[in-house]
Subunit: 182 residues, 2 copies
């Protein structure tokens, strides 16, 4: 039930069409926070418009509708951001995998942990590169969302990398230990 707030948030940064919002969900936003396809976005925009939280401010030549957030919408968004009751829904397939790693035998564990360590290192490097590029002073209104979020992603990647590395070390130590049981 966070989709409406995700949309309000994006529109609070800048007006956009449903199509543009859908692409937004394909980048960082959908990567760490919330995913949504156009098939859920268009109906949700219509619902938000019916509740006067957003409003069509322009119609393009291809039948595109540009939405903007209203004052009520801004109030709703603010209230949602300030009155955070717990952390709500969490559903992360990658983290679930990490939980279940100990059910594998040591060789398989090593294989999965190595893959995680490599992937997080690569992802961190790539993201760092991307952030370096986009920090010019006259950045788009949505770029600030991306900057804060991107740095959050950086920290998560790094933490995950360190976790996997440490788990690998302990795994090796334990195997070495069991091979020398005298």
């Amino acid at each position: 039930m966070s989709l409406p707030h995700a949309l309000l948030g994006l529109l609070a940064a800048a007006p956009a069409t449903g199509y543009e919002l859908a692409r937004e969900f394909e980048s960082d936003l959908g990567r760490y926070a919330w995913q949504a396809g156009h098939a859920s976005i268009y109906p949700e925009l219509a619902k938000l418009a019916a509740r006067d939280l957003v409003r069509v401010v322009d119609q393009g030549p291809r039948g595109s509708k540009t939405y903007d957030i209203t004052e009520q919408g801004r109030a709703e968004l603010r209230s949602w951001l300030l009155h955070r009751s717990g952390d709500g829904v969490v559903r992360n397939e990658g983290v679930l995998r990490m939980f279940l790693i100990p059910t594998l035998d040591p060789d398989d564990q090593r294989s999965v942990l190595t893959a995680i360590a490599e992937e997080t290192a690569a992802a961190e490097a790539e993201l760092r590169e991307r952030l370096k590029g986009g920090t010019d002073p006259r950045c788009s209104p949505r770029a600030e969302l991306g900057l804060l979020a991107g740095r959050f992603g950086l920290g998560q990647y790094r933490a995950t990398h360190e976790w996997a590395t440490r788990a690998l070390e302990e795994l090796d130590a334990r195997v070495a230990d069991s091979r020398r049981p005298n």
Copy 2:
């Protein structure tokens, strides 16, 4: 579509009733990785049993059914853990909030970031305490899942805390800057 694998993973650590599995989802597992209520667990266990991935190994006095994973189930779980195609679904309300913080005015931003910094510090401390207790050598089969997962959580909390702290510092710097515009 990760619920079946979450259940397989828990059963791979130790046999359990649906009721016990439901409680498992209320702790660390549901906190960071995947949530599920009994109303989705019971039907899913029945489906897994129909596919011979799990099996009823005991019936308790109150009509409880203890499930265990089968060889096929173990193979399915292993294959899912090893052939990780991307990171799949991510849906995290807390992270979404973090993304949208820049849409608030500076005072509200400070308020939200301060709350995040405090909560993550408290959560990290509490989790650290909890992990310290449960690390005895003859731990339950499920405790190892919890240990690795718990350390993952520790890293995430700390990374989030540092992120929020840095964001607060920059926010203060920017406000101080704009108040001295000569």
